[in-house]
Amino acid sequence: MTALLEVQNLTVAYGAIEAVRDVSFTVDEGQIVSLIGSNGAGKTTTLRTISGLLRPKSGKILFAGESIDSLEAHVILQRGIAHCPEGRRLFGRMTVEENLQLGAYVRRDTGVEADMNRVYELFPVLGERRHNKAGLFSGGEQQMLAIGRAMMSRPRLLMLDEPSMGLSPIMTQRIFDTIRELQSQGTTILLVEQNALAALALSDHGYVIDLGRTSLDGPGHELLADERVRAAYLGEN
Protein backbone atom coordinates (compact mmCIF):
# COMPACT_ATOMS: atom_id res chain seq x y z
CA MET A 1 0.00 0.00 0.00
CA THR A 2 1.16 3.53 -0.68
CA ALA A 3 1.00 6.38 1.75
CA LEU A 4 -1.58 8.99 0.75
CA LEU A 5 -0.80 11.30 3.64
CA GLU A 6 2.47 11.47 5.51
CA VAL A 7 2.94 13.74 8.48
CA GLN A 8 6.57 13.94 9.54
CA ASN A 9 7.79 15.46 12.80
CA LEU A 10 5.07 18.07 12.79
CA THR A 11 5.31 20.87 15.34
CA VAL A 12 2.64 23.57 15.52
CA ALA A 13 2.62 26.49 17.93
CA TYR A 14 0.11 29.13 18.99
CA GLY A 15 2.50 31.94 19.81
CA ALA A 16 4.93 30.51 22.32
CA ILE A 17 2.79 27.48 23.17
CA GLU A 18 3.51 24.34 21.18
CA ALA A 19 0.21 22.52 20.82
CA VAL A 20 1.62 19.78 18.59
CA ARG A 21 5.15 18.49 19.11
CA ASP A 22 7.00 16.25 16.75
CA VAL A 23 3.95 14.31 15.61
CA SER A 24 4.40 11.75 12.84
CA PHE A 25 1.91 9.41 11.26
CA THR A 26 0.94 7.92 7.94
CA VAL A 27 -2.40 7.34 6.28
CA ASP A 28 -2.34 4.72 3.55
CA GLU A 29 -4.58 4.96 0.52
CA GLY A 30 -7.96 3.35 1.19
CA GLN A 31 -7.55 3.10 4.96
CA ILE A 32 -9.43 4.48 7.89
CA VAL A 33 -6.92 5.90 10.36
CA SER A 34 -7.90 7.44 13.66
CA LEU A 35 -6.15 9.84 15.96
CA ILE A 36 -7.23 9.54 19.55
CA GLY A 37 -6.15 11.40 22.64
CA SER A 38 -7.51 13.34 25.56
CA ASN A 39 -8.83 16.90 25.45
CA GLY A 40 -6.20 19.39 24.44
CA ALA A 41 -3.88 16.72 23.06
CA GLY A 42 -3.53 18.59 19.78
CA LYS A 43 -5.77 16.56 17.45
CA THR A 44 -7.76 19.49 16.08
CA THR A 45 -4.59 21.53 15.70
CA THR A 46 -3.07 18.69 13.66
CA LEU A 47 -6.05 18.56 11.28
CA ARG A 48 -6.19 22.33 10.89
CA THR A 49 -2.53 22.33 9.96
CA ILE A 50 -3.00 19.57 7.37
CA SER A 51 -5.84 21.49 5.75
CA GLY A 52 -3.77 24.68 5.61
CA LEU A 53 -5.59 26.83 8.16
CA LEU A 54 -2.49 26.79 10.37
CA ARG A 55 1.17 26.83 9.39
CA PRO A 56 3.56 24.31 10.90
CA LYS A 57 6.50 25.60 12.90
CA SER A 58 8.52 22.65 11.66
CA GLY A 59 7.99 19.28 10.05
CA LYS A 60 6.57 18.11 6.76
CA ILE A 61 3.18 17.19 5.37
CA LEU A 62 3.15 15.13 2.18
CA PHE A 63 -0.03 14.36 0.25
CA ALA A 64 0.22 11.87 -2.59
CA GLY A 65 3.98 12.32 -2.40
CA GLU A 66 3.94 16.10 -2.70
CA SER A 67 4.67 18.62 0.01
CA ILE A 68 1.52 20.60 0.87
CA ASP A 69 2.58 22.39 4.04
CA SER A 70 3.09 25.74 2.37
CA LEU A 71 -0.12 25.69 0.30
CA GLU A 72 -3.19 27.76 1.08
CA ALA A 73 -6.26 26.06 2.47
CA HIS A 74 -8.40 26.51 -0.64
CA VAL A 75 -5.66 24.97 -2.79
CA ILE A 76 -5.30 22.00 -0.45
CA LEU A 77 -9.02 21.28 -0.83
CA GLN A 78 -8.56 21.30 -4.58
CA ARG A 79 -5.76 18.77 -4.21
CA GLY A 80 -8.30 16.41 -2.68
CA ILE A 81 -8.38 16.85 1.11
CA ALA A 82 -11.72 17.73 2.68
CA HIS A 83 -11.96 18.71 6.33
CA CYS A 84 -15.14 18.41 8.33
CA PRO A 85 -14.18 20.69 11.22
CA GLU A 86 -14.77 20.32 14.92
CA GLY A 87 -18.02 21.92 16.03
CA ARG A 88 -19.56 21.54 12.54
CA ARG A 89 -19.02 25.14 11.42
CA LEU A 90 -21.99 25.23 9.08
CA PHE A 91 -23.05 28.40 7.33
CA GLY A 92 -25.97 28.90 9.66
CA ARG A 93 -27.70 31.62 7.68
CA MET A 94 -27.67 29.55 4.50
CA THR A 95 -29.96 26.71 3.59
CA VAL A 96 -29.06 23.03 3.67
CA GLU A 97 -28.83 23.06 -0.10
CA GLU A 98 -26.54 26.09 -0.17
CA ASN A 99 -24.25 24.46 2.39
CA LEU A 100 -24.00 21.39 0.18
CA GLN A 101 -23.41 23.54 -2.90
CA LEU A 102 -20.55 25.21 -1.06
CA GLY A 103 -19.17 21.78 -0.28
CA ALA A 104 -19.06 21.22 -4.04
CA TYR A 105 -17.73 24.73 -4.70
CA VAL A 106 -14.67 23.65 -6.67
CA ARG A 107 -16.47 21.03 -8.75
CA ARG A 108 -17.43 21.82 -12.32
CA ASP A 109 -18.70 18.37 -13.28
CA THR A 110 -22.29 17.33 -13.76
CA GLY A 111 -22.40 14.84 -10.89
CA VAL A 112 -23.04 17.44 -8.18
CA GLU A 113 -26.82 17.03 -8.28
CA ALA A 114 -26.55 13.25 -7.96
CA ASP A 115 -24.16 13.53 -5.03
CA MET A 116 -26.51 15.93 -3.33
CA ASN A 117 -29.31 13.41 -3.69
CA ARG A 118 -27.05 10.76 -2.23
CA VAL A 119 -26.57 12.92 0.87
CA TYR A 120 -30.36 13.34 1.10
CA GLU A 121 -30.79 9.58 0.83
CA LEU A 122 -28.27 9.01 3.57
CA PHE A 123 -29.83 11.63 5.82
CA PRO A 124 -33.49 11.98 4.81
CA VAL A 125 -34.14 14.79 7.29
CA LEU A 126 -31.78 17.00 5.27
CA GLY A 127 -33.64 16.25 2.06
CA GLU A 128 -37.01 17.04 3.58
CA ARG A 129 -35.79 20.39 4.85
CA ARG A 130 -33.31 21.30 2.16
CA HIS A 131 -34.59 24.88 1.91
CA ASN A 132 -34.40 25.56 5.65
CA LYS A 133 -31.58 27.54 7.19
CA ALA A 134 -28.86 25.28 8.57
CA GLY A 135 -28.66 27.27 11.81
CA LEU A 136 -32.17 26.13 12.75
CA PHE A 137 -31.33 22.40 12.82
CA SER A 138 -30.57 20.34 15.92
CA GLY A 139 -26.99 19.53 16.81
CA GLY A 140 -27.20 16.01 15.42
CA GLU A 141 -28.85 17.15 12.21
CA GLN A 142 -26.17 19.79 11.80
CA GLN A 143 -23.52 17.13 12.21
CA MET A 144 -25.09 15.13 9.38
CA LEU A 145 -25.05 18.19 7.19
CA ALA A 146 -21.42 18.92 8.06
CA ILE A 147 -20.42 15.43 6.99
CA GLY A 148 -22.56 15.59 3.87
CA ARG A 149 -21.01 18.91 2.97
CA ALA A 150 -17.49 17.54 3.36
CA MET A 151 -18.37 14.61 1.08
CA MET A 152 -19.61 16.93 -1.65
CA SER A 153 -16.13 17.80 -2.88
CA ARG A 154 -15.51 14.09 -3.57
CA PRO A 155 -12.23 14.16 -1.66
CA ARG A 156 -9.49 11.56 -1.88
CA LEU A 157 -8.89 12.08 1.82
CA LEU A 158 -11.71 13.00 4.17
CA MET A 159 -10.71 14.32 7.61
CA LEU A 160 -13.44 14.21 10.24
CA ASP A 161 -12.98 15.98 13.56
CA GLU A 162 -15.23 14.36 16.16
CA PRO A 163 -18.14 13.50 13.88
CA SER A 164 -20.01 11.75 16.69
CA MET A 165 -19.98 14.75 18.99
CA GLY A 166 -23.42 15.41 20.40
CA LEU A 167 -25.06 12.53 18.59
CA SER A 168 -27.31 9.82 19.98
CA PRO A 169 -25.91 6.25 19.93
CA ILE A 170 -28.12 5.42 16.95
CA MET A 171 -26.98 8.44 14.99
CA THR A 172 -23.37 7.73 15.93
CA GLN A 173 -23.78 4.24 14.53
CA ARG A 174 -25.27 5.70 11.35
CA ILE A 175 -22.32 8.08 10.97
CA PHE A 176 -19.82 5.29 11.52
CA ASP A 177 -21.60 3.10 8.98
CA THR A 178 -21.43 6.00 6.56
CA ILE A 179 -17.70 6.34 7.15
CA ARG A 180 -17.21 2.67 6.40
CA GLU A 181 -19.29 2.96 3.26
CA LEU A 182 -17.27 5.92 2.07
CA GLN A 183 -14.15 3.87 2.62
CA SER A 184 -15.55 0.98 0.60
CA GLN A 185 -16.14 3.43 -2.23
CA GLY A 186 -12.49 4.39 -2.20
CA THR A 187 -12.30 7.42 0.08
CA THR A 188 -9.43 7.44 2.55
CA ILE A 189 -10.46 8.62 6.02
CA LEU A 190 -8.59 10.36 8.81
CA LEU A 191 -10.76 10.30 11.89
CA VAL A 192 -10.40 12.21 15.16
CA GLU A 193 -12.62 10.89 17.90
CA GLN A 194 -13.32 11.13 21.62
CA ASN A 195 -15.29 7.94 21.21
CA ALA A 196 -12.09 5.88 21.08
CA LEU A 197 -13.83 2.53 21.30
CA ALA A 198 -16.00 3.03 18.25
CA ALA A 199 -13.26 4.77 16.32
CA LEU A 200 -10.63 2.09 16.89
CA ALA A 201 -13.07 -0.70 16.11
CA LEU A 202 -13.56 0.89 12.72
CA SER A 203 -9.96 1.79 11.99
CA ASP A 204 -7.27 0.02 10.06
CA HIS A 205 -4.73 1.88 12.13
CA GLY A 206 -4.80 4.17 15.13
CA TYR A 207 -2.47 6.69 16.70
CA VAL A 208 -2.63 7.92 20.26
CA ILE A 209 -1.65 11.55 20.69
CA ASP A 210 -0.67 12.59 24.15
CA LEU A 211 0.38 16.11 25.17
CA GLY A 212 1.11 16.98 21.58
CA ARG A 213 3.09 13.83 20.74
CA THR A 214 2.30 10.51 19.16
CA SER A 215 2.77 8.09 22.03
CA LEU A 216 1.41 4.81 20.66
CA ASP A 217 0.25 3.39 17.40
CA GLY A 218 -0.92 0.15 15.90
CA PRO A 219 -3.79 -1.51 14.07
CA GLY A 220 -7.17 -0.52 15.51
CA HIS A 221 -7.96 -3.88 17.08
CA GLU A 222 -4.52 -4.09 18.74
CA LEU A 223 -4.85 -0.65 20.28
CA LEU A 224 -8.29 -1.63 21.51
CA ALA A 225 -6.68 -4.50 23.37
CA ASP A 226 -3.77 -2.45 24.70
CA GLU A 227 -3.91 -1.97 28.46
CA ARG A 228 -2.54 1.55 28.36
CA VAL A 229 -5.16 2.63 25.85
CA ARG A 230 -7.94 0.95 27.78
CA ALA A 231 -6.81 2.61 30.98
CA ALA A 232 -6.42 6.08 29.57
CA TYR A 233 -9.21 6.38 27.04
CA LEU A 234 -11.73 3.69 27.68
CA GLY A 235 -12.04 4.34 31.40
CA GLU A 236 -10.82 0.92 32.53
CA ASN A 237 -8.32 0.16 35.24
Binding site: L53, A82, R89, L90, R93, E98, Q101
Partner: protein, 309 residues
Protein backbone atom coordinates in the same frame (compact mmCIF):
# COMPACT_ATOMS: atom_id res chain seq x y z
CA UNK B 1 -49.88 68.48 -2.46
CA UNK B 2 -47.90 69.25 -5.59
CA UNK B 3 -45.09 70.84 -3.59
CA UNK B 4 -44.96 67.90 -1.24
CA UNK B 5 -44.74 65.45 -4.13
CA UNK B 6 -42.07 67.58 -5.75
CA UNK B 7 -40.03 67.48 -2.57
CA UNK B 8 -40.62 63.78 -2.15
CA UNK B 9 -39.27 63.29 -5.65
CA UNK B 10 -36.06 65.16 -4.89
CA UNK B 11 -35.75 63.15 -1.68
CA UNK B 12 -36.02 59.94 -3.66
CA UNK B 13 -33.37 61.12 -6.14
CA UNK B 14 -30.98 61.88 -3.30
CA UNK B 15 -31.89 58.57 -1.71
CA UNK B 16 -31.21 56.66 -4.92
CA UNK B 17 -27.70 58.12 -5.08
CA UNK B 18 -26.99 57.40 -1.43
CA UNK B 19 -28.31 53.86 -1.82
CA UNK B 20 -25.97 53.04 -4.72
CA UNK B 21 -22.97 54.24 -2.73
CA UNK B 22 -24.14 52.58 0.49
CA UNK B 23 -24.10 49.19 -1.25
CA UNK B 24 -20.32 49.41 -1.54
CA UNK B 25 -19.92 50.19 2.15
CA UNK B 26 -22.21 47.43 3.25
CA UNK B 27 -20.76 44.68 1.04
CA UNK B 28 -17.17 45.41 2.03
CA UNK B 29 -18.12 45.62 5.68
CA UNK B 30 -20.04 42.36 5.40
CA UNK B 31 -17.05 40.48 4.08
CA UNK B 32 -14.09 41.91 6.01
CA UNK B 33 -15.71 44.08 8.72
CA UNK B 34 -13.93 47.13 7.39
CA UNK B 35 -15.62 50.50 7.11
CA UNK B 36 -13.95 51.63 3.92
CA UNK B 37 -14.13 55.38 4.40
CA UNK B 38 -12.36 55.87 1.08
CA UNK B 39 -15.39 54.45 -0.76
CA UNK B 40 -16.95 57.92 -0.97
CA UNK B 41 -13.78 59.03 -2.75
CA UNK B 42 -14.19 56.26 -5.32
CA UNK B 43 -17.58 57.81 -6.08
CA UNK B 44 -15.99 61.27 -6.37
CA UNK B 45 -13.16 60.08 -8.61
CA UNK B 46 -15.65 58.34 -10.89
CA UNK B 47 -17.49 61.60 -11.52
CA UNK B 48 -14.23 63.24 -12.55
CA UNK B 49 -13.47 60.22 -14.71
CA UNK B 50 -16.84 60.58 -16.44
CA UNK B 51 -16.21 64.29 -17.07
CA UNK B 52 -12.72 63.55 -18.37
CA UNK B 53 -13.99 60.83 -20.69
CA UNK B 54 -16.46 63.27 -22.21
CA UNK B 55 -13.94 66.06 -22.52
CA UNK B 56 -10.87 64.23 -23.78
CA UNK B 57 -11.71 60.75 -24.93
CA UNK B 58 -14.75 60.95 -27.16
CA UNK B 59 -14.75 62.64 -30.57
CA UNK B 60 -16.60 65.94 -30.78
CA UNK B 61 -19.11 64.53 -33.20
CA UNK B 62 -20.42 62.22 -30.43
CA UNK B 63 -20.67 64.86 -27.75
CA UNK B 64 -24.19 65.89 -28.56
CA UNK B 65 -25.55 62.40 -28.95
CA UNK B 66 -26.17 61.28 -25.38
CA UNK B 67 -26.97 57.74 -26.56
CA UNK B 68 -23.26 57.43 -27.33
CA UNK B 69 -21.74 59.92 -24.91
CA UNK B 70 -23.43 58.48 -21.80
CA UNK B 71 -22.30 54.86 -22.32
CA UNK B 72 -18.76 56.13 -23.03
CA UNK B 73 -18.76 58.12 -19.80
CA UNK B 74 -20.06 55.10 -17.96
CA UNK B 75 -17.31 52.87 -19.33
CA UNK B 76 -14.63 55.42 -18.40
CA UNK B 77 -15.99 55.92 -14.90
CA UNK B 78 -16.48 52.23 -14.21
CA UNK B 79 -12.97 51.36 -15.41
CA UNK B 80 -11.34 53.98 -13.23
CA UNK B 81 -13.47 53.20 -10.18
CA UNK B 82 -13.00 49.43 -10.39
CA UNK B 83 -9.25 49.70 -10.87
CA UNK B 84 -9.06 52.16 -7.98
CA UNK B 85 -11.12 49.94 -5.66
CA UNK B 86 -9.03 46.90 -6.54
CA UNK B 87 -5.72 48.71 -6.01
CA UNK B 88 -6.96 50.05 -2.72
CA UNK B 89 -7.80 46.56 -1.48
CA UNK B 90 -4.55 45.10 -2.74
CA UNK B 91 -2.12 47.69 -1.44
CA UNK B 92 -3.84 49.46 1.45
CA UNK B 93 -6.08 46.89 3.14
CA UNK B 94 -4.81 43.40 2.29
CA UNK B 95 -1.48 43.88 4.10
CA UNK B 96 -3.48 44.81 7.20
CA UNK B 97 -5.97 41.93 6.98
CA UNK B 98 -4.79 40.42 10.28
CA UNK B 99 -3.88 43.67 12.00
CA UNK B 100 -6.04 45.13 14.80
CA UNK B 101 -9.27 46.71 13.51
CA UNK B 102 -8.08 50.25 14.08
CA UNK B 103 -5.18 49.98 11.62
CA UNK B 104 -7.22 49.48 8.41
CA UNK B 105 -9.75 52.06 9.62
CA UNK B 106 -7.08 54.73 9.97
CA UNK B 107 -5.65 53.62 6.62
CA UNK B 108 -9.07 54.11 5.04
CA UNK B 109 -9.16 57.68 6.30
CA UNK B 110 -5.66 58.22 4.93
CA UNK B 111 -6.53 56.77 1.53
CA UNK B 112 -9.59 59.00 1.48
CA UNK B 113 -7.56 62.17 2.09
CA UNK B 114 -4.92 61.10 -0.38
CA UNK B 115 -7.40 60.52 -3.21
CA UNK B 116 -9.08 63.83 -2.58
CA UNK B 117 -5.80 65.72 -2.69
CA UNK B 118 -4.53 63.87 -5.75
CA UNK B 119 -7.63 64.88 -7.71
CA UNK B 120 -7.69 68.42 -6.36
CA UNK B 121 -4.05 69.08 -7.24
CA UNK B 122 -3.86 67.24 -10.55
CA UNK B 123 -7.17 67.45 -12.35
CA UNK B 124 -7.26 70.67 -14.39
CA UNK B 125 -9.18 73.39 -12.51
CA UNK B 126 -10.36 70.98 -9.82
CA UNK B 127 -9.46 73.48 -7.09
CA UNK B 128 -13.03 74.70 -7.54
CA UNK B 129 -16.08 72.98 -9.00
CA UNK B 130 -15.91 71.74 -12.59
CA UNK B 131 -18.69 71.14 -15.10
CA UNK B 132 -20.11 67.80 -16.09
CA UNK B 133 -22.19 67.65 -19.30
CA UNK B 134 -25.87 66.84 -19.20
CA UNK B 135 -25.58 63.87 -21.58
CA UNK B 136 -29.19 62.73 -21.26
CA UNK B 137 -32.71 63.63 -22.43
CA UNK B 138 -33.19 67.36 -21.88
CA UNK B 139 -36.95 67.64 -21.68
CA UNK B 140 -38.34 67.25 -18.17
CA UNK B 141 -41.35 65.09 -17.47
CA UNK B 142 -44.30 67.10 -16.24
CA UNK B 143 -46.97 65.30 -14.24
CA UNK B 144 -50.25 66.96 -13.38
CA UNK B 145 -51.46 66.26 -9.85
CA UNK B 146 -54.28 67.76 -7.78
CA UNK B 147 -53.30 71.35 -7.05
CA UNK B 148 -50.52 71.80 -9.58
CA UNK B 149 -47.76 70.01 -11.44
CA UNK B 150 -44.66 68.03 -10.54
CA UNK B 151 -41.63 68.53 -12.76
CA UNK B 152 -39.21 65.64 -12.96
CA UNK B 153 -35.89 65.81 -14.73
CA UNK B 154 -35.35 62.82 -16.98
CA UNK B 155 -32.14 62.19 -15.05
CA UNK B 156 -34.14 61.98 -11.80
CA UNK B 157 -36.27 59.20 -13.18
CA UNK B 158 -33.20 57.46 -14.53
CA UNK B 159 -31.45 57.67 -11.16
CA UNK B 160 -34.31 56.20 -9.18
CA UNK B 161 -34.88 53.43 -11.73
CA UNK B 162 -31.22 52.48 -12.00
CA UNK B 163 -30.78 52.44 -8.25
CA UNK B 164 -33.73 50.13 -7.64
CA UNK B 165 -33.04 47.83 -10.59
CA UNK B 166 -29.33 47.72 -9.72
CA UNK B 167 -30.05 46.76 -6.13
CA UNK B 168 -32.44 44.00 -7.20
CA UNK B 169 -29.90 42.57 -9.65
CA UNK B 170 -27.20 42.71 -6.99
CA UNK B 171 -29.42 40.98 -4.46
CA UNK B 172 -30.23 38.23 -6.95
CA UNK B 173 -26.59 37.85 -7.88
CA UNK B 174 -25.43 37.55 -4.30
CA UNK B 175 -28.17 35.11 -3.35
CA UNK B 176 -28.10 32.91 -6.46
CA UNK B 177 -24.67 32.85 -8.08
CA UNK B 178 -21.67 30.74 -7.19
CA UNK B 179 -19.58 33.86 -6.54
CA UNK B 180 -22.39 35.28 -4.39
CA UNK B 181 -22.37 32.11 -2.29
CA UNK B 182 -18.60 32.41 -1.90
CA UNK B 183 -19.02 36.02 -0.77
CA UNK B 184 -21.64 35.12 1.82
CA UNK B 185 -19.62 32.15 3.04
CA UNK B 186 -16.51 34.28 3.46
CA UNK B 187 -18.56 36.89 5.30
CA UNK B 188 -20.04 34.33 7.70
CA UNK B 189 -16.96 32.23 8.44
CA UNK B 190 -13.76 32.90 6.46
CA UNK B 191 -11.87 29.82 7.67
CA UNK B 192 -14.65 27.41 6.82
CA UNK B 193 -15.13 29.12 3.45
CA UNK B 194 -11.48 28.30 2.72
CA UNK B 195 -12.14 24.68 3.66
CA UNK B 196 -14.77 24.67 0.91
CA UNK B 197 -12.12 25.76 -1.60
CA UNK B 198 -13.14 29.42 -1.70
CA UNK B 199 -10.17 31.68 -2.47
CA UNK B 200 -10.59 34.47 0.08
CA UNK B 201 -8.47 37.06 -1.73
CA UNK B 202 -10.33 36.63 -4.99
CA UNK B 203 -13.66 36.89 -3.23
CA UNK B 204 -12.68 40.01 -1.31
CA UNK B 205 -11.17 41.78 -4.31
CA UNK B 206 -14.31 40.96 -6.29
CA UNK B 207 -16.42 42.55 -3.56
CA UNK B 208 -14.36 45.74 -3.74
CA UNK B 209 -14.68 45.78 -7.53
CA UNK B 210 -18.45 45.36 -7.32
CA UNK B 211 -18.65 48.25 -4.85
CA UNK B 212 -16.51 50.35 -7.20
CA UNK B 213 -18.77 49.53 -10.13
CA UNK B 214 -21.88 50.67 -8.25
CA UNK B 215 -20.13 53.82 -7.03
CA UNK B 216 -19.22 54.63 -10.65
CA UNK B 217 -22.81 54.15 -11.80
CA UNK B 218 -23.83 56.54 -9.02
CA UNK B 219 -21.05 58.91 -10.05
CA UNK B 220 -22.06 59.15 -13.70
CA UNK B 221 -25.71 59.66 -12.79
CA UNK B 222 -24.74 62.32 -10.24
CA UNK B 223 -22.67 64.08 -12.89
CA UNK B 224 -25.31 64.19 -15.59
CA UNK B 225 -27.99 65.11 -13.06
CA UNK B 226 -26.27 67.97 -11.24
CA UNK B 227 -23.78 68.94 -13.97
CA UNK B 228 -21.11 70.02 -11.54
CA UNK B 229 -18.68 68.36 -9.17
CA UNK B 230 -15.99 69.29 -6.69
CA UNK B 231 -13.59 67.19 -4.64
CA UNK B 232 -15.64 67.50 -1.42
CA UNK B 233 -18.57 65.54 -2.78
CA UNK B 234 -16.99 62.17 -1.90
CA UNK B 235 -16.80 63.00 1.77
CA UNK B 236 -20.32 64.42 1.91
CA UNK B 237 -22.01 61.53 0.13
CA UNK B 238 -19.70 59.05 1.80
CA UNK B 239 -20.99 60.08 5.21
CA UNK B 240 -24.61 59.83 4.10
CA UNK B 241 -24.04 56.47 2.45
CA UNK B 242 -22.20 55.13 5.47
CA UNK B 243 -25.07 56.33 7.66
CA UNK B 244 -27.55 54.64 5.32
CA UNK B 245 -25.64 51.37 5.60
CA UNK B 246 -25.66 51.56 9.40
CA UNK B 247 -29.33 52.56 9.49
CA UNK B 248 -30.33 49.66 7.27
CA UNK B 249 -28.08 47.20 9.08
CA UNK B 250 -24.52 47.07 7.90
CA UNK B 251 -23.88 43.95 5.82
CA UNK B 252 -27.42 43.90 4.43
CA UNK B 253 -28.05 44.79 0.79
CA UNK B 254 -31.74 45.44 1.31
CA UNK B 255 -30.90 47.53 4.37
CA UNK B 256 -28.44 49.74 2.48
CA UNK B 257 -30.99 50.55 -0.22
CA UNK B 258 -33.89 51.22 2.12
CA UNK B 259 -31.57 53.13 4.46
CA UNK B 260 -30.45 55.24 1.50
CA UNK B 261 -33.96 56.14 0.46
CA UNK B 262 -35.01 56.88 4.04
CA UNK B 263 -32.10 59.27 4.49
CA UNK B 264 -32.72 60.99 1.17
CA UNK B 265 -36.38 61.55 1.95
CA UNK B 266 -35.91 62.51 5.61
CA UNK B 267 -33.19 65.01 4.74
CA UNK B 268 -35.20 66.62 1.95
CA UNK B 269 -38.61 66.67 3.63
CA UNK B 270 -37.12 67.50 7.03
CA UNK B 271 -35.38 70.50 5.51
CA UNK B 272 -38.65 71.69 4.02
CA UNK B 273 -41.29 70.84 6.58
CA UNK B 274 -39.63 70.82 9.98
CA UNK B 275 -38.56 73.89 11.94
CA UNK B 276 -35.13 75.25 11.14
CA UNK B 277 -35.34 74.79 7.38
CA UNK B 278 -32.57 73.28 5.28
CA UNK B 279 -30.03 74.39 7.87
CA UNK B 280 -31.25 71.56 10.09
CA UNK B 281 -31.90 68.86 7.51
CA UNK B 282 -28.81 66.83 8.42
CA UNK B 283 -29.78 67.04 12.06
CA UNK B 284 -33.01 65.12 11.40
CA UNK B 285 -31.10 62.44 9.58
CA UNK B 286 -28.83 61.83 12.53
CA UNK B 287 -31.61 62.05 15.10
CA UNK B 288 -33.35 59.31 13.14
CA UNK B 289 -30.15 57.27 13.04
CA UNK B 290 -29.68 57.59 16.79
CA UNK B 291 -33.28 56.59 17.45
CA UNK B 292 -33.01 53.53 15.25
CA UNK B 293 -29.74 52.48 16.84
CA UNK B 294 -31.12 52.89 20.36
CA UNK B 295 -34.01 50.53 19.67
CA UNK B 296 -32.34 48.30 17.06
CA UNK B 297 -28.57 48.43 17.45
CA UNK B 298 -28.09 46.10 14.48
CA UNK B 299 -29.99 48.48 12.18
CA UNK B 300 -33.27 47.84 10.37
CA UNK B 301 -32.26 44.68 8.52
CA UNK B 302 -29.04 43.71 10.26
CA UNK B 303 -28.36 40.35 11.83
CA UNK B 304 -28.60 40.69 15.61
CA UNK B 305 -25.35 38.81 16.04
CA UNK B 306 -22.96 36.91 13.85
CA UNK B 307 -24.47 33.45 13.85
CA UNK B 308 -21.79 30.83 13.68
CA UNK B 309 -23.61 27.56 13.81
Amino acid sequence: MATLLQQLASGLVLGALIALIALGYTMVYGIIQLINFAHGEVFMVSIFAAAATYKWFIPESWENTWQIALPCMLVGAVLVAVVLAVLMERFAYRPLRNAPRLAPLITALGVSQMLKEIVRLNYPDAKSAINVPRAFIDEPIIITVPGGTVVLQATSVLLIAVSIVGAVILQLYVSRSRMGRAMRATAQDPDTAKLMGVNPNRTIVFTFALGGLLAAVAGVLYGIHLNTVDTEVGFLYGIFAFTAAVLGGVGSIKGAVIGGFIIGVVKTLGGQLLPGGTGYDVVWVFILLILVLVFRPQGLFGEPERVRA
